[in-house]
């Protein structure tokens, strides 16, 4: 780049003084300005996925992830007085739905929904997020079962809603056939049935699981057989 720069001597002193003074004024002005006040900003309405895609010049992978970073900013940003617990979850879910539709193969939105937005102490908001996960799971069970498995755990341990947890666990068992899915995810239904005191059903499912040959690890087989014995004992006691 040849811009023809030379020595400073031809610059009139007045011009140099003007430059230095204006720079000093800029720095002083910015330093004296107060820090931006906290904003109680809620999420704006979610854009349609097609619009998100068009606005990103058809870069859905980047658009979906940057939109997630934008959503995160509503909670993590220091100047926002509305953390995610107080956000309008209807809008939040609409944003997440648009982001998942923009890049269906990304797990970012579902990860955040399962691990961050279900942590809300407001049970109604937590349930809304769990239902969103359930709805999205049905669209791609092979890829999205981990988030529904987490949703089942949240329903069971946080909400203490065993029928809801059972619904999610059953969905994983029936719809997800991914061979990489660990057995604990598949066995969730059995243990929830046990917690619900549905011991006969739990025992039948456990027996079927062992008989199916899907469990090959000796330690895991030993553990499952001990669970069957424990269920049998509890059934005997009940009788």
């Amino acid at each position: 780049m040849n811009s023809g720069t030379g020595s400073l001597s031809p610059v009139p002193p007045r011009v140099g003084i003007l430059l230095a003074a204006s720079l000093a004024a800029q720095l002083t002005w910015q330093a004296w300005r107060e820090a931006p006040a906290s904003q109680a900003a809620d999420l704006p309405p979610a854009p349609p996925a097609a619009l998100l895609r068009a606005a990103s010049l058809d870069e859905p992978e980047a658009a979906a992830r940057l939109a997630m970073v934008y959503l995160q900013a509503y909670d993590l940003r220091g100047d926002n007085a509305v953390p995610y617990q107080h956000l309008d979850y209807g809008r939040l879910i609409a944003w997440l739905r648009a982001i998942v539709a923009t890049d269906p193969r990304s797990g970012y939105a579902l990860f955040s929904a399962a691990r961050v937005y279900t942590e809300n102490p407001d049970a109604a908001k937590c349930r809304a997020m769990l239902e969103f996960l359930y709805e999205e799971f049905a669209r791609d069970p092979e890829r999205r079962w981990p988030w529904l498995a987490h949703a089942a755990l949240v329903a069971k341990h946080r909400l203490k809603d065993l029928p809801l947890a059972l619904r999610y666990a059953r969905a994983i068992d029936r719809q997800a056939h991914d061979p990489r899915a660990p057995l604990w995810a598949k066995q969730m239904e059995i243990f929830i049935l046990e917690d619900l005191n549905e011991l006969e059903a739990a025992g039948i499912l456990l027996g079927a699981l062992i008989a199916s040959g899907r469990v090959r690890d000796p330690s895991e087989l030993r553990f499952l057989r001990s669970r069957i014995r424990s269920i049998d004992r509890r059934l005997e006691e009940r009788r």
């Binding site: 780049m1 349609p48 097609a50 619009l51 895609r53 068009a54 990103s56 010049l57 058809d58 870069e59 859905p60 992978e61 980047a62 992830r65 940057l66 997630m68 970073v69 995160q72 993590l76 193969r105 990304s106 797990g107 970012y108 990860f111 955040s112 691990r115 961050v116």
Partner: protein, 259 residues
């Protein structure tokens, strides 16, 4: 002298001068600044990502570098042609024993080589976050895409003779080519009313005239792995066809003009 006797040799000589000009202009520094900016932004995102950090970095850096490459090459081509026109370089070049076609193709070859070098240099930082094989396909596609942008810039700067309209039209055509798929999806989606089928027809007709840049240089290749060969070859073939169309249009316009 032997080089000057064949059209290919003359094309090569003109292309070399175009490349030399690119190296001596601000283009390499601007390319370096773009690489640094995208790398810095990706590094910043790594600190705030909750998950899929590598994918986030690759997607955002690739998107930034892709649009930067197109913008840099378009402005470089247009300003280079405008400068040559202002310096009466074109008239001087045509007094030499070279035909207009050779001159035009030589200029385009030089700009396309500069575009390819820019694409290769922009792929280098992406090696941090993407696998080499998908990145190879991506860079090949970016080189073809930037060469196409160079052809657009050359055509419009020669045809319009002024830098600002040429940059505006090149940018418009590029952005339309990038977003035409999404615009078609919106026009065909449930949001569009039944009575708007005429509008959908216009959008579809417009799409026939545009390069399908939305199918080329896909970030998904870097994030989710190699595309099916037919997808990548289809995208490259589409770019090649449009490139030839622009060359034909450019040669036609340049040959009939009174200088």
């Amino acid at each position: 002298m032997t080089r000057l006797s064949s059209p290919g040799g003359r094309v090569w000589i003109i292309a070399r001068f175009v490349l030399l000009e690119a190296f001596r202009s601000g283009l390499p520094w601007l390319a370096l600044a773009c690489i640094a900016a995208s790398f810095g932004f990706a590094a910043f995102l790594a600190h705030i990502a909750l998950t899929e950090t590598r994918e986030l970095q690759a997607a955002v850096a690739a998107a930034m570098l892709r649009i930067s490459a197109a913008f840099l090459i378009a402005t470089h081509v247009v300003t280079s042609v405008a400068r040559e026109a202002n310096d009466r370089g074109l008239e001087f070049a045509l007094t030499l024993p070279i035909s207009r076609s050779v001159y035009y193709v030589g200029k385009l070859a030089g700009f396309a080589c500069a575009a390819a070098l820019l694409a290769i240099s922009f792929a280098a930082p992406l090696l941090l976050w993407a696998e080499p094989a998908p990145l190879g396909v991506w860079v090949l596609s970016l080189a073809a895409e930037t060469a196409l942008v160079a052809a657009m810039g050359l055509f419009f700067s020669m045809a319009l003779a002024e830098a600002v309209p040429a940059i505006a039209v090149t940018a418009g055509l590029y952005l339309l080519g990038r977003s035409v798929g999404a615009i078609q999806a919106i026009a065909a989606g449930p949001l569009a009313q039944e009575q708007e089928s005429a509008l959908r027809g216009i959008v579809d007709a417009l799409a026939l005239l545009l390069p399908r840049l939305d199918q080329a240089t896909r970030t998904e290749w870097l994030v989710y792995g190699l595309p099916p060969a037919s997808d990548a070859l289809g995208a490259l073939a589409g770019l090649a066809i449009y490139f030839v169309l622009l060359v034909g249009a450019g040669l036609f316009d340049f040959s009939r003009r009174n200088l």
